[in-house]
Amino acid sequence: MFEWMVWTVPTALVFAGLALLLVAMAVWARLSPPVARRGFLRIETDRGDRLYIGLISAAVVLAGWIAVTDLSMWLALGCALLVVVVIGIWG
């Protein structure tokens, strides 16, 4: 049935991770409702906004990395996760 979608294990893991992240955020919002505030991004964001901005920034880091350097992508992934965490906490 999903043969045409040509799934691979890595992409399936990525999407499962994203789905889990969304569910986790929904549960977290249920337990303690998000509060909007201002951080170094200078705009009012709640934690969902910061997660979105963080993930998009992580994608930019990965794309920029692969465009300019041949260094390991694992290093890039580390930087990208760092960006997500930094924006999530102080953004």
Binding site: E3, W4, V6, V35, R38, I43, A63
Partner: protein
């Protein structure tokens, strides 16, 4: 970090949230029309697919080759340049047109219909119109440029001419949208503002600069957003008029992408290309959306 205080959503828990189920049809339709196809694109972008059962996992190789491809890089710069020129021409022209349009009387409807006319024409027809119009031998516009000022104009051979043709075509097609948005914005300014300006003996320019322009801020943000996104993703019109040529002169990102995906059937690189294109458009959308919705706070 400063706390901005209690947000309305803080009392999400105490409300009855069953109305959220009404969103379900949208979620289902978006899943089938956007999310599932996008997941498939992601899957294609990390593999070399010959048939669904005969495929090789290549990791991020397509992303590496696409981001380093000089043709893709130059198409990216070209598309950005085109969008910038479109905005620089269409926004001032549209505002000027809106200011010149009559504010009341029978001519309002006439002006609105005339201005809106280009918007009603299907995109590929716009392309066909301009393909003929700009031709030096049988096209009115092309013939006039060749014979009246005596400039040698041929959009099928000269890359500057091709660029100008596509740009003028876009201005002709889409300035009306900016004009209509700006006109709606101008019409919403209460009359007393103009009366006050008149009492102060303000010049037409001062009235425009200090009353009309500040009040157009909202609609112009929308106009810039719409025109940027549309021109950045332009495909049909240049495809019909120039086909991306001569050479690569008018091959914008979408034209190059469809050449890779449909022409060469390289679905892996095309998938990687699409995702990067999507990422860029997504970022711009978010920035514009943030500016649009949060600038008041």
């Amino acid at each position: 970090m400063t706390e901005v205080g209690e947000e309305p959503r803080a009392d999400l828990k105490r409300r009855n949230n069953r109305a959220w189920w009404l969103v379900l049809p949208v979620v289902v339709s978006v899943a089938f029309t956007a999310v599932i196809p996008l997941m498939t694109v992601v899957n294609f972008s990390v593999q070399d697919v010959f048939t669904p059962s005969d495929r090789i996992f290549v990791g991020l190789e397509w992303f590496r080759s696409i981001t380093r491809d000089p043709e893709v890089r130059s198409a990216f710069v070209r598309t950005l340049l085109f969008s910038a020129q479109v905005l620089l021409l269409e926004i001032p022209l549209g505002v000027a047109l809106a200011v010149c349009m009559p504010r009341r009387g029978v001519w309002v409807s006439v002006a609105l219909v005339l201005v809106a006319l280009p918007l009603l024409i299907p995109w590929n027809v716009v392309g066909t119109i301009w393909q003929i119009f700009a031709r030096g031998d049988i096209g009115l516009g092309g013939w006039a440029v060749n014979h009246v000022p005596g400039v040698d104009f041929n959009y099928t051979l000269d890359s500057t001419d091709a660029w100008i043709t596509v740009l003028v075509m876009d201005v002709w097609h889409w300035t009306p949208l900016v004009a209509l948005l700006a006109y709606a914005g101008l019409r919403s300014i209460p009359e007393p503002y103009f009366q006050a300006a008149q009492i102060d003996a303000a010049s037409a320019w001062a009235t425009f600069r200090h009353i009309q322009l500040p009040r157009l801020r909202g609609v112009l943000t929308i106009a810039i957003l719409l025109r940027f996104m549309d021109s950045f993703m332009i495909y049909t019109e240049p495809f019909v008029v120039t086909g991306g040529g001569p050479g690569n002169a008018t091959s914008f990102l979408s034209i190059l992408l469809s050449k890779i995906a449909v022409g060469q059937f390289d679905l892996g690189p095309a998938g990687a290309f699409s995702l990067l294109y999507f990422l860029f458009v997504q970022i711009l959308c978010y920035v514009f959306f943030t500016v649009l919705t949060r600038s008041g706070r």
